[in-house]
C-alpha cells in the first residue's frame, strides 16, 4: 500500500516538476510516467534492502531506458523525458543534509551525506551513460539493416 502511494506521489510530483522545467504540455504525462517507474524501482530496491546507492542506480537505468524509448518514438531530445524523471532519485535532499549538518557542526554526519550525495550523483551519471551507449549501438545496427 505504501509502495502504491509512493509511486503515485512520484507521478504527481514529477509531472509538477516537468511544469516548472517548462516541458511542453503534450509530454507532461510521459515525464510523470517515467518518474513513477523510477520511483517504483527505487522503492522496491530500498524495501528489499539493496541500499540507497544501488537502488538509485537501478532506478536511473529504468528511467534512462524509458526516456530513450520515448525520445525514439516521439523524435524529441532525450533530456525532455530524462531530467524531470530522475528528480526523485537525484540527491537534492542529500545535498541539503550535507550543508545542514555542516552548519550544525556535526562533521561526521555531514561527511556521510556528502559521500552519499557524490556516490548517488556518480551512479546516476553511470546509469545514463550505459543507456546512452546501448542505444547508440542499437541505433547504428538499425541504420545498417
Amino acid at each position: 500500500m505504501s509502495l502504491l502511494i509512493g509511486v503515485a506521489g512520484c507521478f504527481f510530483s514529477v509531472t509538477a516538476f516537468a511544469i516548472l522545467l517548462e516541458t511542453p504540455k503534450s509530454y507532461l504525462i510521459h515525464a510523470g510516467g517515467v518518474g513513477a517507474v523510477g520511483g517504483f524501482v527505487y522503492l522496491l530496491g530500498t524495501k528489499n534492502e539493496l541500499g540507497v546507492v544501488f537502488s538509485s542506480f537501478l532506478s536511473v537505468l529504468a528511467i534512462a531506458f524509458l526516456a530513450h524509448l520515448f525520445a525514439r518514438i516521439f523524435k524529441e531530445p532525450v533530456t525532455v523525458f530524462l531530467i524531470a524523471g530522475i528528480l526523485p532519485t537525484v540527491p537534492g535532499a542529500g545535498m541539503y543534509r550535507t550543508a545542514y549538518y555542516l552548519i550544525q557542526n556535526d562533521s561526521e554526519k555531514s561527511g556521510y551525506y556528502l559521500l552519499q550525495t557524490l556516490e548517488i550523483a556518480g551512479v546516476i551519471a553511470l546509469a545514463i551513460f550505459i543507456m546512452d551507449t546501448l542505444f547508440k549501438i542499437v541505433g547504428k545496427r538499425e541504420k545498417k539493416v
Partner: protein, 256 residues
Amino acid sequence: MDYKLVIRTAVLAGELMLLSGAETYRVEDTMNHILKTAHTKTAEALVFRTGILATIDNPDIEPVTMMRRVKNSGTNLNRIMQVNDISRKYCAGEMPLKEAYERLGGIQKKQYKTGIYNLATLIIPAGFAPLFGGQMPEILLSAAMGALLALIITVGKRWNVNGFILDTVSSFMVAAAVFLLGAKISGVDLDIVIISAIMPLVPGVAITNAVRDILQGDYMSGNARVLEAFLTAAGIAIGAGAGMWIAGVIIAGGVR
C-alpha cells in the same frame, strides 16, 4: 555566404540553450553544426557555464570571432526543444539562414500561467512526502508548505530578488512554519515535512548536469555547476537552520 550572420545565429542558438540549462557538450554540438554550414576551413565553438566563444576563418575572409557572457537562469526544456528543431531544419537545408535567425530571436519564454506554476510548487512537496516515508499528516502539512513556498516565490520573483537570497528566505520561512505548526500537532515527523517542502528548491538538475559535464570532459563547466549546486544547497540549509532556531526561541517563550 554571410559569415557574420552564420556566427550570429550559432551564438544566439548557443546562448538560448545555455540559458535553458542544456548540457555543455550539447550546446557546443549544436553551435558546431550551425557553424559548419558556412563551409569554412576553421569553425570552432567553445562553451563555458558562464559564456560562449565562436570563431570562423577562411583564406579569403578576415577571421570572425564572437563572444557572449551568459547569465544563469534555470531550466527551460521547451526552449531547448525549439532551438533544437530550428537548428536541425536549418542544417538540413529546409530553412534559410535569415529565417532561422529570426525564429531563434522570437522563441517564447514561458508557456504556462503563473497559477499553474504555483499549483505545481504545491504538488511537488505533497508528492515527495511518501517517498521519504511520510503518511497522510506529513503529506497534508507538506502541501500546506508548498502553498507557502509558492506565495514566497511569486512575491520574490515580482520584486526581482536574487536567487540565492530567495532560496534562503524561502527555506527559512518554511522551516520556521513547520516547527511552529509542528509544536501544535503531535505525531508528525517534522524532518520529513521539511525535506519534502524544500524539494522544489534543491539543485537536483544542477548536480546531475555537473556530473554529466565532468564525465564528458567539460571540467570548467562541471566545476561551475558543482559550485552552483553546493551554493544553492548551502543557502537552503542556512535558511532552514535559522528558521528552526527562531521557531525554537519563539516556542521556548523568547530569549531569556
